[in-house]
């Protein structure tokens, strides 16, 4: 289902939960609504479902305005954060609920439910009650129940929040596969950036009720358009006076400019490890943290503290050791503007033409 939202606002008394949000979603896409808790993501999802009515704005499904349609008539499936399974019904009856409401024949219901139970890997559990299932199984039931009436749009509110970390990654892949196989337009809410990046085709970043940026995960990582997006996606260190770093002196032309530097923009090592040593600056290793698959290194350049990662394959550094630091680029922003600045020294001072 093609979805369009225009100028959506929601106020709860004095609290402005959603401010002027607008977006379009193409049919069959899997969208992640990402942002900190309390940012208005769930409110947007509930308005799409019809469980909450917008203060102003239009919600358009397939070119038809659905603001005044109740949830029963919007053709959506909703997976709640705590699944909201009917606890007095078996797995079978939970999945069959939407079909019974539609007064389908017994055989039809049976076929559809068994098909979904098989699809979601719940075979053998159809006579259990929700309290006899594990968290992951409950989520599968909620998913199957939402899909049973063949909705045009699937909405998932923090679908993995209540599941322990190990099974969560497994379920993520499973859900992505499942949604691709069914081919249904889906929107899910999450506050976990890894989850959004891994699962979604497109991410919408929501902060304080506003839509900050919409795009593919790679796009958002590469070209963050606001300071919030830059700091929320990926890891980063904030540098107040970036002009004091070699190669970024030009930043002084814009007073009041600060910088975000991601760990992966920074390389550290011995002098011989760099192709253009002249672009590096001297730094001192402050702390080393073993992160399982790599070292996280805190390094000081002058009085600026930076964080980066270093491969386990390279020589092990020691705290207090002098190292060369190469900063490839920084993400600069001030009150009016945001842009990316490459290290000026990286352009070879003595290019050799062959």
């Amino acid at each position: 289902m093609h979805i369009e939202v225009r100028g959506l606002n929601k106020q709860f008394g004095d609290f402005h939960a959603v401010r002027d949000v607008g977006f379009e979603i193409a049919k069959g896409h899997l969208i992640g609504l990402l942002g900190p808790s309390g940012g208005g993501k769930t409110s947007i999802l509930r308005m799409l479902a019809g469980l909450e009515s917008p203060t102003s704005g239009d919600i358009i499904f397939h070119g038809k305005r659905v603001n005044d349609l109740p949830p029963q008539e919007r053709g959506i499936g909703f997976v709640f954060q705590n699944y909201a399974l009917f606890k007095h019904m078996t797995v079978f009856d939970n999945v069959a609920f939407g079909l019974k409401v539609k007064k389908q024949s017994k055989d039809q219901i049976r076929d559809r439910v068994m098909q979904l139970i098989e699809l979601t890997g719940l075979k053998g559990f159809e006579h259990r009650y929700p309290h006899q299932l594990s968290g992951g199984q409950r989520q599968r039931v909620a998913f199957a129940r939402a899909l049973a009436p063949e909705p045009q749009l699937l909405l998932l509110d923090e679908p993995f929040a209540a599941i322990d970390a190990k099974i969560r990654t497994e379920l993520r892949t499973w859900l992505k596969e499942m949604i691709e196989r069914v081919g249904i337009t889906s929107i899910f809410v999450t506050h976990d950036q890894d989850e959004a990046i891994e699962v979604a085709d497109e991410i919408m970043i929501i902060n304080k009720g506003r839509l900050e940026q919409k795009g593919s995960p790679w796009d958002i990582y590469k070209n963050p358009q606001t300071q919030f997006v830059a700091s929320f996606i990926g890891e980063s260190t904030m540098v107040e006076q970036v002009e004091r770093l070699r190669g970024f002196e030009e930043a002084a032309n814009w007073p009041g400019t600060q910088a975000l530097i991601r760990p992966e923009y920074i390389e550290i090592g011995k002098r011989h490890e760099f192709r253009i040593p002249s672009a590096t600056v001297q730094g001192r290793v402050k702390h080393l943290h073993f992160r399982g698959s790599e070292w996280m290194v805190e390094v000081e350049v002058g009085d600026i503290k930076l964080i980066t990662y270093r491969s386990l394959e390279k020589d092990v550094l020691q705290p207090g050791e002098e190292v060369h630091v190469l900063i490839h680029r920084a993400y600069l922003f001030n009150d009016n503007d945001t842009w990316i600045m490459e290290n000026k020294l990286k352009e070879d001072p003595m290019p050799v033409h062959i």
């Binding site: 479902a49 469980l51 939407g98 409401v101 129940r145």
Partner: protein, 265 residues
Amino acid sequence: MKKVWIPLTYLVFIVLLIIPILKIFTGSWAEGWSGFIEALTRKQSLHALMMTGIIVVVVTVLNTIFGVMLALYLVRATWLGQRIKNLLNSLVDLPYAVSPVIGGLMIVLILGPSTALGAFFEDIGFKIVYALPGMILATLFVTFPLMVREVMPVLQEIGAQQEEAASTLGAYSWYTFWHVTWPSIRWGVIYGVVLTVARSLGEFGAVLVVSGNIMNKTQTATTLVYQDVENFNVVAANGVALVLAAFSVGLLLLMEWAKKRKEVH
């Protein structure tokens, strides 16, 4: 200390509960089986028991329907402002605070034959005070909080999510109520029904004021016991009291069972 307190507790228990029940039991058999039967088969006894029965049934049905509805509105309705909800919520408890006699008096003052409303109803041939409708009204007033207070916490605890899930699956409110909400609140409702039955069986003050206690017309089992005692007809009073007590014990057992089910579910 223990040696004093444990026997004292037993003593209070025996004096307050066991001895009165035994006394009612022996009192009603003081003239043997025939005395007991006669006390119960008097015309006024049969009529009073029937009145009590009618009141219990009608009050329980009305209180269940409106109590569950009010509980649903107070917990779920989004169209009621929070302030109105809070006001209604505290008003529900009013009958707990007001003495039943005063409750009955309020009904007489509003709907009595000398008031405009009462006169109007009497003109169209519908007598309220000193008749069955007034007695039902008085008992409803007294029992009103029981159902609401049983169902509200259950509704709050289960939350609205299951109902919202049902709505996204295409179910409208009536279907959702019977298939999703009702199975979760039914033990609370049954508990409320038991409490309502017990309270309307035993109601005395409010009914006495509203009914006028006219024998064979507006007399209930409790007011009959009161009159028998006044007339020194102790055997009859004990007989009717025993019937009421037996019902209460039965209800008590039912209540224990319902309470257990409520906790399990």
